[in-house]
Each structure stands twice: as C-alpha cells, then as structure tokens.
C-alpha cells in the first residue's frame, strides 16, 4: 500500500478545485478539517488535517496520578466515556492485581452496554441527519435521553461520567436503576423497528449507502481499523470476544461480522450491535450479584515498574491503553491507541472517486468522534 506524501496544493488548477471541509462544517461532527480536491462533484483526493482539538491528554497524564488521569479519558471519546474509564481502571487493576467484586463487574458491563446503546443511537440519528433526513435525529434522542437520565441518577453526570474507577465503580446503583433499565429495554425493543422503518428500509437511504465507500478487508487490516468499521469488512475484532474482560466470557452474545464492507453494511452492523447490547443487558439486569461495589484500593496508586497494556471494545472499536511505569505515582509514559484515529485513515481511500454527497455518507458510517482522534 502506497502512503500519499504529496499534500494537496492550496491553489486551484484548471478543471480541479480545492475546497476546505471544516474545521467548522456541519457534517464533520467537530473540528475535523478535510482538504478536498474536486473535479466538479467528483472527489479526486482527500487530506484530513488534525489537531484542532488537541489537548495533550497523554502528556498531561504524565503529571497526574493513575486515578486522576482517568477523568481525562472521558473527554476523549465522549460518547464512550464509560469504556474509556474502564480501560484505564482495568489496566490499574491488572498492574496491582486487584480482584474486582462480581457486583462491580456486572454494574460495569451494564453501564458499558447502555453507553454503547446510547452511542449507537446518537450515531444513527446523526447518520440520518448527514444524509438530509432530520427526523431520525429526534427519534434517536428520545431513547438516548432515557439512558442519559439513568446515568445521571447513578453517576451524577450525563456525558463525562467518571463512574468506573480502579477496583470497581464509584458508588452503588440507584434504587430505581433496575426498574428504569427494564422499562427502557422493553420500550427500545419496540422502537428499534421505527429505526428500520425510517432509514433502513428507505429506498433513498439504501441507494445512498449501498455499494458506496467500499473498505476492502486487507485495507482495513493494514489501516488498523477496528470496531463496526472493521467488522463490516469481515474482520473478527470484537475485544469482548477475543480478549474478554470484566466477565464478558460468561455472557451469551454474538459478534456481528459482515463481509461486504460498504456504507450500508457498516450501518447494519451497528443496528445489529444495538440488538446484541440489549441481549447482554437482558441477561444481567435480573442477576446483579450482591456484595461490594468496589474493592479496597490504596489512595495513591503506584504501579510496579514495567509496561502494561489493556484494551477494551468501545462503541467505535478497540481502545488500547499503554502505560510505562517507573514505580512512581504518575506514569512515566501513557499512550492511547484510539479507534477513531485508525478509522479516519480509511476515509481518504474509500471516499476517493465518489461524490461530495457520498463523502458525507461515508463519514457518517465511519462514526468519527474528533476529540478521540486528536486527544
């Protein structure tokens, strides 16, 4: 695979012109900046420019303790805040060899799967919005709002939860949690058919996404794509299955792998994942074990000298946390391998030679979260 070295020039040439999509553009979902070379409506080249929301989270983390740096991870992929916290917590637990209570594990999985549902719902709404259908957005927010209310009751916040901590979770579940989650899942099992009616079955939507934005299997592997993007290209990469954590190995759920690799397949994978998440929640919601919600962990955490790596499956793919510890209370070096950064790499290959409208549709199905790319 050839990596393009030539940057797109600023000037227009005869027959071709260059436009800037972003950093302030309605469909880049944040401050992503794309420079696009166009021939009429056809895209000749795409060049993503990053760094508009770079906050140096990795560098800041070097001067923060292991507990403190978890708070920053909620700000990376803000729609997968629970998963990001979980990855760091799991890493600390691995380093200190802490046994997490069963109750905490169950609560973690419930929260994480609810978060996955909420994230995919938001994605579904904004995917419709990117293709010009405004109504799906409101239908998606109907359910997402309920999930965020559940989070608010238990965790205290709606977006950056910081609920999962080393040793377990911050505090016990709210008394209404089980009741509300059950009502939510019961309702969503009915409402997900509305999703199909509004978008999946819509002929315009299908024509817009089918046979568009092919991501071949080998390209997906060499770009390091993960999550629904890679699974739509036929790569089995669900960390929950391959490297189970927090008791995913005891649960019955299936990994959604489809092999066509176009935008519509990526869409279908996420819709099916929502159903799997509901299935996981169904299994756990009645069987939350009694006991402690958090193991005892020392106030100041010092990881033993060495290198640690932990990965989890966020709503967008594989999040890896790599920590080099020199035995101090702060990490010597911390590195996040974020799913969106790798998935973004696919954009310039798969959106080439398509129309401007397709670019927006492809970006919608890649489901990019820009703060996760820049960190």
């Amino acid at each position: 695979m050839e990596i393009p070295k030539q940057l797109i020039p600023l000037e227009d040439t005869p027959g071709e012109f260059v436009i800037n999509v972003g950093p302030q553009h309605p469909s880049t979902h944040g401050v992503l900046h794309l420079r696009i070379k166009l021939d009429g409506e056809k895209i000749l080249e795409i060049e993503p420019h990053l760094g508009y929301i770079h906050r140096g989270i990795e560098k800041i983390s070097e001067s923060l303790g292991y507990r403190q740096s978890i708070y920053l991870t909620s700000r990376m992929d803000y729609l997968s805040a629970h998963m990001n916290n979980q990855a760091c917590s799991l890493l600390v637990e691995k380093g200190l060899q802490i046994e997490v209570p069963d109750r905490a594990k169950a609560i973690r999985i419930l929260m994480v799967e609810l978060q996955r549902l909420a994230s995919h719902q938001l994605w579904w709404g904004s995917a419709g919005l990117d293709m010009g259908a405004v109504s799906p957005f409101f239908f998606a927010f109907r359910e997402r709002e309920q999930i965020l209310e559940i989070f608010e009751e238990t965790c205290g916040t709606r977006l950056t939860m910081n609920y999962i901590t080393p040793g377990g979770v911050m505090n016990d579940l709210h008394p209404d949690f089980v009741k509300k989650v059950k009502a939510l899942i019961k309702q969503f099992k009915v409402n997900i058919h509305e999703y199909d009616k509004l978008l999946t079955g819509n002929i315009i939507f299908q024509k817009r996404t089918q046979n568009v934005g092919f991501l071949p299997r080998d390209l997906a592997i060499s770009l390091g794509a993960s999550g629904p993007v890679a699974r739509a290209s036929g790569i089995s990469c669900d960390i929950r299955k391959l490297h189970p954590y927090d008791g995913y190995e005891k649960l019955d759920f299936s990994e959604i792998v489809m092999d066509k690799g176009d935008s519509f397949t990526r869409y279908l994978v996420r819709i099916e994942e929502m159903k799997q998440s509901m299935h996981i929640i169904d299994q756990l919601i009645d069987n939350i074990p009694e006991g402690d919600y958090r193991a005892r962990v020392k106030g100041i955490i010092r990881l033993p000298e060495g290198e640690y790596y932990q990965r989890v499956e966020t709503a967008r793919g594989e999040l890896g946390v790599f920590v080099v510890s020199d035995g101090n209370k702060t990490p010597y070096r911390i590195k996040y391998r974020t799913p969106n950064f790798s998935n973004l790499g696919a954009l310039q290959y798969i959106a080439k030679d398509s129309k401007i409208g397709d670019l927006v549709a492809i970006m919608a199905t890649l489901d990019l979260i820009i703060p996760d790319i820049d960190r």
């Binding site: 436009i19 553009h25 309605p26 409506e41 419709g128 315009i204 409208g357």
Partner: protein, 361 residues
C-alpha cells in the same frame, strides 16, 4: 354561487367607485396598484402561514411541539423571525460580484411574483385570465434558476458555486417532467387557460376523470415540482450537510429573507398549479349520483375549497421533507432522465389516445 355577493361583484363595485372619481387612465393605474398590494399581502400572509405550518408539521413529526413561546401556540414566531431578519445587516463578502450579489434575491423573488398573475383563487377572483395561463406559469417560473445561478456565482464561495450549479442542473431537468405532466391534462381539457381548466372540472376533478394517466401525471407533478422547489429529498442545492447552505450561504438579513420568501412563494405556486390542474381548483367535491351530498358540498365557499386543496399539497411536500433523506446528484438526474421523462412521454401518448377515443368522463 352560494355566496350572496361573489368576488366579481366586489371587484366590479371597486371599479365603478374608482371610475366615479378618476379619469380612465388613473383608474387603471390605481387598480394595478391595488392589485399589486393585494398580491404582496397575499404572498406575505401565505408565507407566514406556511412557515408556521412547516414548523408545526416538522415538530409533530419529530416528537416535539414546534414553536410554543411567542404568541398563542407560537403563532407569532414567524413575525418575530421576520422582524429579526429586518434588523440584521446584509453582508457582502470580499471579492463578491456586488451587482449580481445584490440583484440575485430580487430576481428570484420577482419571478415568483410574476408567476402568480393568472391564478384563479375563487370565481371572479383572478388577476389576468390569460389564454395560455399554464404555459405562462411554467415559462416564468423557469427564469428563477437564473437568480439562483447568479447567487451561486457571485458569492465568491466554492460551496455556493457548487450549490448554484447543482440547482441549475436540477431545475432545468425537472421542468421537463413537471411541464409534461401538466400537458397530459391540457390535452384532455383542450385549453391552456386556467379559467377553462377549472370550469372543465365542474363535473369531476381531472385526477378522477382522467383515468390512470391523470393520476400518474399527478404523482410525477408532485415529484418534479418538489425537485424544482429545491426541497428535500431533492434539496441538493442547499444541502446543509454537504454545502453548508449552498447558493445562499453568504446571504444574510433581508437578502436571505428574500430567498426564503421566494422559496415559500414557489411552494405556494406549485401547490396552486397542482390544485388547479389536477384537483379542480375552487370546484367543490362532487360525486355523481349523490345529489344531497353534492348540494352540501356547494355550501362550502369556493376559496375554502381552493386553499384547502392547496394546503393539502403543501402538506404533502412538507411530509416528504421531514421523512426522506437526500438523494445524490447522479441519482437525482438519473431519476429524471431515465424514469420520469420517458414515462411522462408515454403517459402523454396514452392521455392523447384516451382523449381521441373520448374515454374520459
């Protein structure tokens, strides 16, 4: 007429009253002024009503209430927005072609007003009974694309340029099927005059009388006119998510409001054409054989019939907008040139055959 005083009597009374005070030349001039003011008033009232309707329809389709704060049930919201737009500064971007940039909104709006002339809103309430009324409307409304191209070109913005070009390709294409679908009815009716077309539907609307070709023509007309209006699922020229706002990205204040007003006026015109040609204009709904029912229907004033049907088509167009995703430019042109246009031509042939054989009611 059920109404004791028809609209014809009112216009006649105004004419006689003016003739009593002024000489004939001034009478014509003052009548033209009155009519112009009446049209502007009608368009503004309709635009405000449509904006309110659009927001409420969108709201109810999206599990929310729509505007609720300004006035009763948010009824004053549109007025508040117009006031806001009036107070805003009209910015001209650097490097823009200033003349074309300021001219474009006027071209678009003027064209919309021109197309209003031959409509008959109720018996006797017609500005100008042109013998080529339908042709005039479709001819005049196609000038509007020049204004959009001007706006796209003069803004010195690549997004606007793309939007303008898309719009040009789209409107020029879809005018064909919109025109051909009307021609199917014109063939059956035998006249291009709006008044004659409405009168020919006194025993039944063309959509019912004209068998399958008329129904097909109506469907094609609604699709093609939605595309001509640049509204979803054919709103590629604006395409908020792709081109930010397309040809009117750089416009602000009243210049933007004029584009907005023109869009809603065009919506109104298209719905009125659909009403006049397919749904019987101001003719009440009659079923042959049900005399009591027909008599009851006659009691509903004719302008209520007319605006009721117009708002029905408006609702259809709004329904599309808030349900469908947007099409891509190649799919849009494919739909027109590969499906709608050939089918419309076949439809005209069938309509002509039916007319020759005298099979329509």
């Amino acid at each position: 007429m059920i109404l004791m005083i028809g609209f014809k009597d009112i216009t006649l009374w105004i004419h006689q009253m003016l003739s009593g005070y002024l000489n004939p030349g001034w009478v014509v001039a003052s009548e033209a002024l009155l009519v112009g003011l009446a049209m502007i008033l009608l368009v503004v009232i309709m635009a405000v009503a449509m904006i309110y309707m659009e927001r409420k329809v969108a709201g109810f389709m999206q599990l929310r209430l729509g505007p609720m704060r300004v006035g009763l049930w948010g009824s004053m919201q549109a007025f508040a927005d117009v006031l806001k737009l009036l107070l805003k500064e009209c910015l001209t971007p650097n490097g823009a072609d200033k003349l074309l940039f300021s001219l474009a909104p006027f071209v678009v709006l003027t064209v919309s007003f021109l197309a209003l002339a031959p409509f008959s809103f109720a018996p006797g309430l017609q500005l100008w009974d042109l013998n080529i009324g339908v042709l005039y409307i479709s001819a005049v409304s196609s000038i509007g694309v020049i204004g959009i191209l001007m706006a796209g070109w003069s803004s010195n913005n690549k997004y606007s340029l793309l939007g303008g070009m898309r719009s040009g390709a789209q409107i020029v294409s879809y005018e064909l099927s919109a025109g051909l679908s009307i021609i199917a009815i014109v063939i059956m009716c035998g006249s291009l005059s709006i008044h004659d077309i409405i009168l020919s539907q006194s025993d039944g609307w063309w959509i019912f009388k004209g068998h399958l070709p008329a129904m097909f023509a109506f469907v094609v007309f609604v699709i093609a006119s939605t595309a001509e209006l640049n509204r979803a699922p054919f709103d590629l020229a604006e395409a908020e998510q792709e081109l930010t706002a397309g040809f009117h990205t750089e416009y602000s204040g009243m210049q933007f409001a004029m584009f907005f007003l023109a869009e809603y006026t065009n919506m109104f015109i298209v719905s009125m054409v659909g009403t006049t040609v397919f749904l019987g204009g101001w003719m009440p709904f009659h079923i042959v054989g049900f005399e009591a029912f027909n008599h009851l229907m006659d009691y509903v004033p004719s302008f209520i019939w007319f605006f009721g049907k117009t708002f029905f088509i408006l609702f259809l167009i709004m329904w599309f907008r808030w349900t469908f995703p947007r099409m891509r430019i190649d799919q849009l042109l494919k739909l027109e040139w590969k499906y709608l246009l050939p089918l419309s031509i076949i439809n005209i042939v069938i309509a002509a055959f039916i007319t020759i054989m005298g099979w329509h009611f």
